[in-house]
């Protein structure tokens, strides 16, 4: 491990993501690239605040990985970060990077999301380390995240391999104490080295590399036996627990007196260390979240376990209470009794509080209209996925980044064509909807496919000039880089035309009549079209117009305005017991969508000024 500064001043409280950034900076990283994705986003946001590190938002994770590989090949230490599903996108270069190795260290952070707090799946990306033949590190808190990150670069260079650095939401988004150090300066990069047999993966070269990679895994397994990432903490010899990551903390609380083998490097595993631990304890358990990744590897080593995945679950996050209960059920002695008590009753029938569009959000009007049209909508990943929720219920499928446009195209290709001259069947002609950042990420190739393969779908690009869901990051359409420098802005209409879309229309998403008219026109066309609903994110750009109010004399309580699903609207009963709707002025941003839904002209703006609405 690196030297620690033992002064009180050098202790900071950092999130796991901030600690990773700190560790990368201390390790002398020269370049970091990422695409935003919860729970990984703050790593690059934090690292961009340090001097001496070039940081960029790449358009997607694959590009970020390739940028990182290039930097590392050129001789600069590189960091690449993404959420778990981002590694699926970046898997192609990731696997090849494991073959070619590197000139300077490269660490790939995968921030997994057990429990799916903000993800479409909860895949366990530890599997990627085994699959790609690279070492895997799992810190259990921010202090370890920083220490491991610094050490990861030495590991990477010593074994000529990228390192997979896996966090979860609970390590990335938890704060704890970190001992910070100074930056290690690495050699300046001035010349590109030629080594084509190592860095050019054509079959003849890759065949030479593959046995080297397999030997590297064996060498890493030897290193793991004495690696500082793994440690035995002997306690009660009746109970041994092997665990890693945030789960280590839950286990320490669940069975405080037990013996622990705490693994920080979880691939490849130290066979002798584990066998030795086995011999020192009566019963041995593996406690891990999601997949039985450690358990299967340990069983394959021929080491007997007394309990693993059958004691807990493949689903969701673990916690101390859950771990305590599952181990107590298995008869483990020494479980903390405070974690075994019965809980009080949960208050019944409370309304949930799901996330929703902000008051004034530019996506709201689009979904009000799509719902009214009863259209079939193929959705994508971003704030606009929330169009699937009540009261809109207007998105009908969504799988991954960029899939909206290509899935809609696939649907039309298996549907029976309409009879000659028949009107378009709006309910059965899929509409793709995608945000600006997701379009840049992987929607452009989908749109190319629609054009090239003679599709006829309607493709809506909801362009709010930011990467909103992850907190408002820059992207190739915003005219600014992560480091705050001015940059070129992608011209979306011109790009669509260049791809071959002839029908490109830009609409004001706050004007419901215009939205509906244009969508109906474009659906009727028997060729692909793009509708760009362009309006900046109200949250990111802090947009407020004069607020609307509801004339309680005119309001009939019909609830039609509530179709907008806006948090600024409040249904109440007046003194006479009549149902009315009011607008909460501190919430309203004056977008005017609700006023266009009202048939009584009860919703007006006292001072009609410039800006949105009717």
């Amino acid at each position: 491990m690196t030297s620690k500064v033992e002064t009180k001043e050098a202790v900071e409280i950092l999130s796991g993501n901030e600690a990773i950034a700190r560790g990368a900076w201390e390790a002398g990283v020269k370049l970091a690239a990422a695409y935003p994705g919860t729970p990984s986003t703050e790593i690059l946001e934090s690292l961009a605040e340090y001097e001496d590190v070039y940081c960029e938002w790449s358009p997607n994770e694959k590009v970020a990985m390739e940028v990182g590989i290039g930097a590392s090949m050129a001789g600069g230490r590189a960091l690449v970060c993404m959420k778990h599903v981002g590694l699926n996108v970046a898997a192609d270069p990731f696997f090849s990077s494991a073959y070619v190795g590197l000139e300077a260290g490269m660490v790939v952070v995968s921030a997994d999301d057990p429990g799916m707090h903000s993800s479409q799946d909860e895949q366990d990306n530890r599997n990627y380390a085994k699959f790609a033949r690279v070492p895997l590190l799992e810190p259990s808190d921010s202090g370890e995240a920083k220490e491991f990150m610094v050490a990861a670069y030495d590991l990477s260079e010593r074994f000529d391999t990228p390192v997979l650095f896996r966090t979860t939401t609970r390590t990335s988004h938890s704060q704890s104490l970190v001992k910070v150090g100074e930056r290690v300066e690495t050699a300046p990069v001035t010349q590109l080295k030629r080594n084509w047999t190592k860095y050019l993966m054509m079959p003849a070269n890759a065949m030479v590399r593959h046995p080297i990679i397999e030997q590297r895994v064996r060498d890493l397994a030897v290193y793991a036996e004495s690696s500082p990432f793994n440690r035995v903490e002997m306690g009660d010899p009746r109970v041994g627990i092997i665990t890693s990551g945030a789960i280590y903390g839950y286990c320490r609380e669940a069975v405080p007196g037990a013996s622990f083998l705490k693994l920080g490097m979880t691939h490849p595993l130290p066979a002798k260390l584990i066998a030795g631990f086995r011999s020192r304890v009566e019963k041995l358990y593996v406690v891990e979240e999601l997949d039985p990744f450690l358990e299967e590897a340990i069983r394959l080593l021929g080491i007997k376990l007394d309990g693993g995945k059958e004691l807990n679950t493949l689903l969701g996050e673990l916690n101390a209470r859950y771990v305590a209960q599952s181990l107590a059920k298995a008869g483990v002695p020494g479980v903390n009794p405070e974690l075994l008590t019965d809980l009080g009753p949960v208050a019944a029938d409370l309304p949930g509080r799901p996330p929703t569009f902000c008051p004034g959000c530019s996506h709201r009007g689009i979904y009000v209209v799509l719902k009214k049209m009863k259209a079939f909508v193929s959705g994508d990943i971003g704030c606009y996925t929330m169009g699937a929720l009540p009261p809109y219920n207007a998105v009908h499928c969504s799988t991954c980044m960029g899939a909206s446009l290509s899935m809609a195209h696939g649907m039309t290709k298996v549907m029976e064509p309409l009879a000659e001259g028949a009107p378009v069947d709006i309910r059965n002609k899929p509409i793709g909807i995608i945000g600006d950042s997701t379009f840049f990420h992987s929607g452009i190739t989908s749109l190319m496919d629609v054009v090239y393969n003679r599709g006829n779908t309607l493709n809506i690009i909801v362009d709010n000039s930011t990467t909103a869901m992850t907190g408002g990051q820059e992207n190739p359409g915003t005219g600014k880089t992560l480091l705050g420098e001015p940059s070129e802005t992608v011209d979306i209409p011109a790009l669509c035309r260049a791809i071959g879309i002839k029908r490109v229309t830009t609409i004001d998403p706050y004007n419901l009549d215009e939205v509906e008219r244009v969508l109906r026109e474009e659906l009727a066309a028997n060729e692909p079209s793009v509708v760009i609903a362009g309006a900046p994110c109200v949250l990111q750009f802090k947009i407020r117009h004069p607020v609307y109010q509801i004339d309680s004399e005119l309001c009939t309580g019909c609830k039609r305005c509530l179709q907008a699903g806006c948090g600024a609207l409040n249904l109440y009963e007046d003194a006479a017991g009549d149902r009315k709707v009011e607008i909460m002025p501190d919430q309203c941003t004056g977008c005017g969508v609700c006023s266009q839904l009202c048939r009584e002209n009860a919703i007006t703006r006292p001072e009609p000024a410039e800006g949105r609405g009717s």
Binding site: I13, H117, R170, Q175, G344, P345, T470, G567
Partner: protein, 205 residues
Amino acid sequence: MIARPTMNVLLTGVGGQGVVLASFVLSRVAMSEGYDVKQSEVHGMAQRGGSVTSHFRFGDKVWSPLVPQGMADLLMAFEALEALRYANWLKPGGLLVYNALRINPSPVSAGLASYPADIDALIKAAWPNTQCVNANALAAQAGTVKAANVAMLGAISRALPFAAETWEAVLRKAVPPKTVDVNLDAFRLGAASAAAPAATCSTTS
């Protein structure tokens, strides 16, 4: 030295209410007083009106960042419905402090669900050891309703073993420079309200 057991605080509220900033302040106050600290929140979609929870733990040694359900010493709810929803995270004898504020969840705004009409009574029934705070009114009195989260910190400050000077030093650094005085006032008003609870405290939007 006497071992200090881990204290568990759960913060609940609605995206945009400043739950994360309040957790940031708590973490730094505890760290300044020499405790080990772990804090965890789930964010990402939090700015869009969803439910937000944050776990804050401090002691001589804190192993994990999550307050176990049924073990919270203190539940600090920034909104009334979010107090009721998480009341059973408290341990026997734990204290619930909630802001007498109603923020409609989106199903209520859309007319698809109703907000419990007698929320204050429901909270009291679910957890008798409860204090109600008019944090938004206190913050407005201090100068801006935006400081309601800091008024809440004031209201719970007496339940935690931290010195007044530490709170003030951390708050001075944590809030925007122009708003230091307003926030310190909100904190003091919150603390005073906990010492002498208002005669009436009922939830309003």
